[in-house]
Symmetry: C2
Subunit: 448 residues, 2 copies
């Protein structure tokens, strides 16, 4: 076993087993008893027989097991993991005030952060997710602790120190725009000499209601400074958009000049285009907002479980996909309770059926193939958008060139009294597996 | 350990731990570090100190663990367990035709039934459910095999040989009403000398579209015969009601004389009143149907996950509860994918929020307390309704007199970085636990 791990660390190896991945948004491909090759941490493709060129690679035999791409969680709140499943009786704005904000305030205490983020990181290592876009809190030391822990774990993540200077309780509000911006610069400076291999900063204004115009302007300056120093796509950005109708009405009051909620970000040059951007939710995004997102290549993190738990609604995912807006899945822990993106896939399918049934008869439900694509390549492609030196590339596919994130699943106890195809076994895995079924997890070619 | 199990088999014992159960539909009670007494297979209550009267009972120390009532699954299809999570891309009537019926037809082969039902029974033993109301298939031998396996498992169940003599494929249709009725009598006769302790027959016309008027009349005669021989409430009944709008339109065509779908059962005297009756779904039940159910004490099996998976809609559970219609939860495997009634609780809460958000603003979402009540006492009380000699009593509560079904949960790995109350631990268990967390399961006072 030690020998194998050593060899794997060289990032040149082949796995043998039953392989499945999304070729396109609507097409899943499966390969029985085939070979998946990892070369220098990237997929070299799937083959029915091991090609001569890779004959010298160590072969790890997972015959009879499923090999799938790692999953990407495009949206979660690390400090909220601690209270997941509690306080599920409120909608967004009251829930933030009563549960999320008081818990996040605790992370000013670095020891608490170390304890809580330690529990989270251990949990995420066992999950089927390999990549994460994560909100931390406003606190620089706690955010760096989280990033250190994630880096140690071998998982790949983008993590944001959160900015918020208004409409938040005293215990969780930065004094003013300049204080918040200074803390952000301090955070980015602290990261510079840490030489992380798998952990990246992402600019994280919480959402329009908690960020003043001055703060947004200051963040735009930080982004441009970073772009000038590194690359135009250097510092990506994540935030929330059109999650809840009360929230949207509030944004309309706060930014009457914006044509839509998304435009409130765009007016500060913090909405896609050159900046790789993820907006979580978009449950109530209208035509104008969706068109703006498409034209600026903004990613949507669809978080079906959270949208149900905190009574936000059902996002028009069929429209996102039809319009070609890049879309992945998010757990949105702790609006969502479950971290696994397998669960997000099945929730996405389920609520899309209710949407068709109850709200929008002309919007066909999300298919299994589409949900699987969103949870793998849909979200995993975001990692190919950013341009920091040494930044990660896209993952979520086994086509040649994608970074090698893979799960090996022992699905023997999900068997049926009849024989199942690889695709049927994949469906069962997505609906029914848990962390016990994951026998190996590779991230960027490393076994973690 | 052997000693303890022996003592437990006497059905007089006490458990010590952190206890939670529903006192009423809206009130959950929790008891830290307390004693739950089982006397002759029934709860004798919860006490802060062990009362003198029970001082001689063996005490099993579960300090630090949660003790909860067992859960009741009021609606599932045993033969569909084999294909759960497959074919989730259709709505009810097409799904029946393409997936459910062809699979059920296989159970004419007793060997297949033994294999498939063996897998199911092993799975159910590990689940948090202790009681079940189950549809088998039309096949008498396979139904008896299932009942034998369930009896061996120690679980408590009502199982129905299904009746269907029209609008079904040739491979899964009884030739005519008399053939179906004769098979039902044959099945009941076969059970008479089996002396099950925990397994009961329940009359199971599949649904109106697959049962002719003659068949319904014949089943009513069988029910009355049984009532005369035993007790008025002798042979309970289960079926489906108002799951899907196309189905309802079809019933309207088939029974134009019925005032509503429920009335199509009532016109044959197979809808509550003296007969303990469960109707699954009721997603689209109108005012007239709901009033009919209330007046006849018909139970509703609310199956939120199935209603989402096969695009049925969201049942008006707030109305069921406000009107006082007895309501429990069902997995509806394999319209539902997950057998655990913990999952049904959280699904019920979740979809009720979407219902308020999207369909019925005046219907408040189901609270955690209500969902927990539905999955325990709400459904468990049905077992106190039937009146076969030796039949089971109600369960789902630890008030004195309820049959002793209990789960012991080790929730240590669901801990938070802060201390949790018993109620918070219960919420976490309901949302996050799996079969690994169940360290003991008692059914009618027996450790299984």
């Amino acid at each position: 076993m030690y020998f194998i791990v050593m060899e794997v660390a060289s990032q040149n190896f082949a796995l043998k087993g039953d392989i499945a991945y999304s070729k396109t948004q609507t097409r899943l491909e499966t390969f029985e008893n085939s070979y998946l090759v990892c070369e220098k941490g990237k997929s070299a493709g799937v083959f029915p027989r091991l090609p001569e060129a890779f004959a010298g690679f160590p072969l790890i035999d997972y015959t009879g097991r499923l090999i799938l791409p790692g999953l990407t969680d495009l949206h979660m709140h690390a400090p909220q993991f601690s209270f997941r499943s509690l306080g599920m009786d409120l909608e967004l704005l009251s829930w933030l005030e009563k549960h999320a904000f008081p818990e996040e305030a605790k992370y000013r205490d670095a020891e608490y952060a170390r304890l809580a983020y330690g529990l989270l990181t251990e949990h995420l290592k066992r999950s089927p997710n390999t990549r994460f876009c994560i909100f931390a809190t406003i606190h620089v030391p706690a955010t760096v602790i989280l990033m250190d822990l994630l880096e140690e774990s071998g998982l790949v993540s983008m993590v944001g120190k959160v900015n918020m200077d208004r409409n938040s309780p005293d215990i969780l509000r930065e004094a003013d725009a300049e204080t918040s911006a200074a803390a952000t610069r301090e955070w980015l400076t602290a990261l510079a000499d840490r030489n992380y291999k798998n952990t990246y900063p992402i600019l994280t204004p919480r959402f329009i209601p908690s960020c003043s115009d001055d703060l947004m302007a200051a963040l735009a300056r930080i982004q441009k400074h970073c772009a000038a120093a590194h690359s135009p796509r250097a510092l990506p950005l994540q935030s929330h958009l059109s999650e809840n109708q009360r929230e949207i009405a509030w944004v309309r009051e706060l930014c009457p000049e914006a044509g839509c909620y998304g435009d409130a970000y765009a007016r500060h040059d913090l909405f896609g285009a050159e900046i790789p951007t993820i907006m979580a939710h978009c449950v109530w995004s209208g035509e104008e907002e969706l068109r703006l997102m498409r034209s600026r290549g903004v990613y949507i993190a669809h978080c079906p479980q959270s949208n149900l738990n905190i009574s936000s609604g059902i996002a028009p995912v069929r429209r996102f996909l039809d319009m070609g807006i890049p879309t992945g899945l998010g757990s949105d822990v702790a609006g969502g309770v479950h971290t696994s993106i397998f669960r997000a896939m099945t929730d996405a399918i389920g609520v899309s059926k209710l949407r068709q049934c109850l709200v929008a008869k002309d919007e066909a439900p999300i298919t299994f193939e589409e949900a699987f694509w969103m949870g793998t390549l849909g979200g995993g492609s975001f990692f190919g958008k950013a341009g920091l030196p040494g930044n990660a590339g896209a993952t979520g596919s086994f086509d040649p060139g994608y970074e090698f994130d893979a799960l090996v699943i022992d699905d023997a106890d999900l068997a049926a009294p009849f024989s199942l195809s690889v695709e049927e076994r994949l469906r069962r895995t997505v609906y029914l597996s848990d962390d016990r079924h994951i026998v190996a997890k590779y991230v960027r070619g490393n076994l973690i």
